[in-house]
Amino acid sequence: MKELVIISGKGGTGKTSLVASFAALCKNKVLADTDVDAPDLHLILSPKIKHEEAFKGGHKAIIDREKCTECGECQNLCRFEAISEDFVVDDIACEGCGVCVHFCPVEAISFPQRVCGKWFISDTRFGPMVHAQLGIAEENSGLLATLVRNQARVIAQENGLDLILTDGPPGIGCPVIATVAGATAAMIVTEPTVSGRHDLERVYGLTQHFQAPALACINKFDLNEYMTEEIEKFCKAQKIPLVGKIPFDPRVIEAVVNGKTIVEYANGSISKVIAQVWQNTYNFLKSLP
């Protein structure tokens, strides 16, 4: 079983639109969305939820005002400035470390588990999908991304599916690390802008750090041919296979508005280009152990 994760560094380069089209083009796979704080793949794939579960990530401190003697020890020890002057824990600032709970001299602080979001196993018109939604202003997006990937692996094994196709988050931080670590390959979707070029270098560094073979795709390549050449030079120098260049096409946005993948919505050149990108990607995946 192989796992292809699609990441970008910079947000808004077209990860989700591309993953949705790959979902339509590829057989025998399970889909995963690890962009757990702003997931969008479900907006195209309209999943029917079969299983829903609460995601418990860590704990939160709660001060019992009846027992509290206002000695101030918790405020002194908390490094996250999470305890107010009138001894109320700020849920948003609380890191869930438990220091205040342990060192409270009168045991006035409880430490219940914190529900940080939900995760789902669903059916889509292109096969099974595992996805999640982090609660608003909650933490532990990395843990939830890992949970989504693990569930996708279980489904792939149970159903004899050969591939996990994962729509990743932007950036290079916690949830991206949780997405890339241990993946068969990471496709980086970039765009020909100074930001796209800059962020490509950093996210490629991340794939190197976690030893995931990288491949690149340049979206909206015709918006700046000079920058596209710069990105091509970078890929060549770093020996990153470039699996395709996709032109700017307003039908990509129209497809999203209509809740369809590009290959379902638009006949003609744009869909052919994407089909070729998928074919090149698939061949690359097949060549990997």
Binding site: S8, G9, K10, G11, G12, T13, T16, D35, V36, D37, A38, D40, L43, G58, H59, L77, R79, F80, I92, E95, G96, C97, G98, V99, H102, F103, L134, I136, A137, E138, E139, S141, G142, P169, P170, G171, I172, G173, C174, P175, V176, I177, P192, T193, V194, S195, H198, D199, R202, V203, G205, L206, H209, L223, N224, M227, P250, I253, V256, V257
Partner: protein, 277 residues
């Protein structure tokens, strides 16, 4: 006064709005790029960086002479950053949240702290704009402590424009939580709308005034506009899709070099000021 520019969805135009707003206001403005994972504002504001510092967080350092492998530290740590197996103790500094609990709890006083590098903070000037950003070390997961350090450079007397990371989780919250107003940049697509709702949810939990900028406003549908109308969220600016705007962005050029865009961004600024009052 601090104004955060945030978005939920990535790639909607946060950096475009934040950098052009700072450039049009010019003198005396502070600019913080808190997207420490992928900082981009410097590509547009091109500051002269005149000082750079390494940002660290404290992580446990175990004195094996004193440690008796009782395991209390490992039992305590909520993040599995320290582990005792028989007569061996292992630390996993990249999992450590720097709460200091292990060194407080150790009966033998065997745990002190050493610094671990998260990234760098760079400070400089772009013309008369004071500029600060953080660059997270590649492979590092802990963005929040670096963001907090970048934010410490706010002089609260100044007008400070903050470029936030995408998403709605901890790095975004750490960035926007003390702002006076949050400008949410979106695009009128189902993706833009879904993520806007989440971002509005975050801003409302934090009780921050919000306004929306709709970018590429003519490519998409009515959903974002209907939502803002229903929720009584002011739309501060709409930017239609123009190939020229996209091309200037691609090259790292500011829009406000042209007077028509100066006027538009000054108009945006007066609406933002209105939200704060």
């Amino acid at each position: 006064m601090a104004i955060s520019v945030a978005s939920g969805k990535g790639g909607t135009g946060k950096t475009t709005i934040a950098t052009n707003l700072a450039a049009v206001l010019g003198k005396g403005i502070g600019f913080l790029d808190c997207d420490v994972e992928e900082p981009n504002a410097h590509l547009f504001l091109r500051p002269n960086i005149n000082c750079s510092e390494i940002v660290t967080i404290p992580v446990p350092d175990v004195d094996l002479e004193k440690c008796d492998f009782c395991g209390k530290c490992a039992d305590f740590c909520q993040f599995n950053a320290i582990s005792v197996i028989g007569e061996n103790i292992l630390t996993f500094p990249e999992l450590c949240h720097s709460c200091g609990g292990c060194s407080l709890i150790c009966p033998q006083k065997a745990i002190s702290e050493r610094p671990r590098e998260l990234g760098v903070l760079e400070h400089g000037f772009s013309g008369e704009i004071e500029f600060v950003h953080g660059r997270l070390r590649v492979g590092e997961a802990m963005a929040v402590p670096l963001i907090e350090r970048v934010k410490k450079h706010i002089d609260s007397k100044k007008i400070v424009i903050i470029d936030a990371p995408p998403g709605t989780s901890c790095p975004v919250i750490a960035t926007i939580k003390d702002s006076d107003v949050v400008v949410l940049v979106t695009e009128p697509t189902p993706f833009g709308l879904y993520d806007l709702r989440l971002a509005v949810g975050v801003a409302r939990i934090l009780k921050l005034p919000i306004g929306v900028v709709v970018n590429r406003a003519d490519l998409g549908d009515e959903g974002v506009f209907e939502y803002c109308h229903k929720e009584e969220i002011p739309i501060l600016m709409t930017i239609p899709f123009e190939r020229k705007v996209a091309e200037d962005y691609a090259k790292g050029q500011l829009l406000v070099k042209e007077s028509i865009w100066q006027d538009r961004f000054l108009a945006l600024w007066s609406k933002i000021e209105g939200l704060v009052k």
